[in-house]
Amino acid sequence: MSADTRSPASPRTPVYAFVGNPNCGKSTLFNALTGLKQKVGNYPGVTVEKKIGETYSQHGHPIKIIDLPGAYSLAARSPDEAVLRDVLLGRRADTPQPDRIVCILDASNLERNLYLVHQILDLGRPVILALNMMDLAAKSGLEIRVARLEKELGIPIIPCEAANGKGIVELRLAMSRSDLPLAKHAWEIPAPIAPAVSELAASLQENDGKAPFSARAEALLLLTDQDTVRVTGSKPLHPRTSAIFHNWQKRWAGEGTDWAGSLVSSRYDAITELCSRIVVRKANVGPSVSDRIDQVVTHPVWGWTSLAGIMALLFLSIFTLAELPMNFIDGRMAALADWVKSVMQAGDFRDLITDSAIAGVGGVLVFLPQILILFFFMGLLESTGYMARAAFIMDRMMSRVGLNGRSFIPLLSSYACAIPGIMATRTIEDQKDRLTTILVAPLMSCSARLPVYLLMMAALVPGERVPLLTKVSIMLLMYSLGTLGAFGFAWLFKRTLLKGEPPLMIMELPPYRLPRVRDIAFHMIERAWMFLKNAGTVILALSIVLWFLAAYPKAHDGATTTQQLEQSFAGKAGHTLEPVIKPLGFDWQIGIGLISSLAAREVFVSTMGIVFNAEGSDENTAPLRESMLKAKWPDGRPLFTPLVCLTLMIFYVFAMQCMSTLVVVKRETNSWRWPLFQIAYMTGTAWVVCFIVYQTGHALGF
């Protein structure tokens, strides 16, 4: 179906696929060629990033490039690899099958990088090899005979250093060629397996309608794809083909032939043989810079020190650097609302704009600086290679709850905000591990809970100021409750709901690289934009709904905002909710706060301000504290006893009160099932724990 696209006269824009192992510099090369002309999205049905960019040939003709996810093999074990395989084989209806393939290799690590290339050459497509990181190869004492490799394989080989902009021109030149030779790619399929491959290939061609040149590749893949990751968009096998496959499997099992293993070994044999002729080890250089860094960061003492230091720096920068832009955004949004108030006539429509649209979207925007900084830091950790080291030293601890080290950084960054944490789980290969991490990440006490904690602590302690020791110990208690909850539930989910294969920790520790700030910034902006688009719209809608609930039905003329709220739908909902939350010591007024903070936890504080008719702000809660302490149950008992304050804090530790997170979870898990489950289990836990705490406390006379 695509043979015609190879002819030079074809008016269709040629489509190139960029493929390579993780950490081979593929994205840097892609960014260098396409610049800002790229579209980033998702492959429908899976959470794998789809990147398509455009560049121009040397003659000014457009070229389309698909930047496929990094992978070690075409035999898919993760959705990333499944997408790579399916796009290359033209199995996805949503993506054009690439006409040509550019394989990017890390020249300093040729053998393992050539494994994927070896599989790709089977596909019978024109391939260009970009030997990236030639400088690093030279530094580690390796000489690569490029001309020899070109002669052996018969395809263009472009040495480059993408990070220094070297080789880009040559690569573009090669990509502009109207004719590209096919590789001389003959390798011997092990004898016991060869007849099966031809039989399968014939059936694939006949029954599954595969093109002749790719049928053999499909057959070979079938044999190593033991637990094939099926993704939406890929078609199932013809029954005849799967019957042949199962027959062979049975036969091999009887003979004791390890078909998958010997296929891999024979590929590596061919690669080792090739490398012996093209890679010359010139000098045995001593330990590399990477080795020396690793001696420190994976050291039993210095390893923990550096991990703690890096994390401290991360949180310090989130809380200090983010403050200025946060205040700025807060101020701008307030000014915008004031401006709208000054130019529009007073009325419901004006209130709708100022109190719901501007306030709601402002509430999301205000967290943007934090989220950006987190994205930037995580990009930095990932691209320098430190992320893998953190996973390496934390793995043992995470394995206690059935996760692996890869979950550590996403969980940790959820202390600041669960959203970047959840978005960072894409680096976790195992889908069940990833889902578990996503499910428990919002239990880590994020910064939006802080205003609630602070307000409750102020109400908890008599006197104007909260003693430092009390403050610290209560905070510590809340953070450890959340952390314990997260790990406890991870343990539970991995044993029940998401029980799977025994957990693995097969991971490359890539050499340290200097970060490419441009690439990280690109990535950060992409992610942030995605978040704004998704969360922003949902929050806007929800804010309007919540505003409506609080504004209607109208109270009599001249009613105060407190009276208005009391008899609105929200107020009624608070009353309706009261029987449910009364066992926790909460009344309908707190109920209104709980409902309104479904949008975001920090909204609780401003709602309490309205409910108890107190002026104040996040920073200055003193007037609100006064009014709250005066609040009473109808029978005259005080509402905010220390026990109730504590219970309310605990409620916020566990309850799922963040719409933005839910939207992101929906996006990352591709269904509403998991966010709904999160609401159920987290808020359910919150209720149960609060019930126990309040009732026990009450029985003890507090």
Partner: protein, 81 residues
């Protein structure tokens, strides 16, 4: 020929050659695809501070795997230089 030992029991800095490698299990197919198979030379770089996983240098790059897998891989340690 030296005696075979488990990869998980190799001490840091020791080089060895893989002799016996499990045929079953997706973890081991994965390891093969990452270049670890019978006949492959490797060096144990270190064990993580908490005792698991381990880091080996194989085919010029660094790879981690857990001890639960490493103890099923038998290696022949090279004579100390």
């Amino acid at each position: 020929m030296n005696a075979l030992s488990k990869l998980s029991e190799l001490s840091a800095g020791t080089s060895a050659v893989v002799r016996e490698f499990p045929k079953q299990g997706s973890a081991f197919l994965r390891l093969r695809e990452m270049g670890l198979m019978p006949g492959t030379a490797l060096t144990l770089i270190r064990t993580a501070p908490l005792g698991d996983p381990i880091e080996v240098k194989v085919r010029g790059y660094n790879l981690t795997l857990r001890k639960s897998e490493a103890e099923q891989i038998l290696v022949e340690a090279s004579a100390k230089a």
